[in-house]
Symmetry: C2
Subunit: 124 residues, 2 copies
């Protein structure tokens, strides 16, 4: 299939696909006319990339998952390198949450100090 079809099936833009290629995440055969040519395996590759970037992974983070799929594994997460990334990302997310919670408390404290009567109920 050509880039437009892959883009539609994977739910990304053609620009994104070319970007993934530039970053070395996916490769494409070329038809005689120079058009990129993809197959079903590429759909799964891109789907994997999307599943990761959708939850905040960078393309760099996605590399091990892509490599894992290319190595023949059914899931991109089946390799230890991928699991390592998962653990690292979980730790990063936890750290971000902690930072945000602390930040919220700090902001609430500033508000309270400047305006004791102001409601500070959480949106949460």
């Amino acid at each position: 299939m050509r880039i437009g079809e892959l883009a539609e099936r994977a739910g990304v833009s053609t620009r994104a696909l070319r970007h993934y290629e530039q970053q070395g995440l996916i490769r494409a055969r070329r038809s005689a006319n120079g058009y990129r040519d993809y197959d079903e395996a590429d759909v799964r590759l891109v789907a994997q990339i999307r599943a990761l970037t959708a939850v905040g992974f960078t393309l760099e983070d996605a590399r091990p998952f892509v490599a894992c799929l290319l190595a023949g594994h059914e899931s991109g997460a089946a390799c230890p390198e991928s699991v390592d990334v998962y653990r690292r990302k979980l730790a990063e997310i936890d750290a971000e949450i902690r930072a945000l919670v602390a930040r919220r408390a700090e902001v609430a404290a500033q508000l309270k100090q400047a305006c004791p009567g102001c409601a500070i109920r959480r949106t949460k």
Copy 2:
């Protein structure tokens, strides 16, 4: 005082001070030689800006606080516009926290699915 002294006393770089000026947050008188000249009020202004950016506010968010101080109030948070910003930022932070928590759950779910035995204990 000159820009270097203000920078040191306020705990920011001279570059940051020039940036704040470019953004219209602070103004500086000029000495005969063209050097920027600041006073004590500016130290408080910059301190206010820092207190806000330190907890994730943008310089744009800081404008009402600066205006409030320039209007003669003791605290930059004493004006209703500032309080509005506080409330908005609290809501934004809450939204970010919710998004991150959901994201964490999603990542943990992906890991669990690909590697049921993998430890998913929180760093938290």
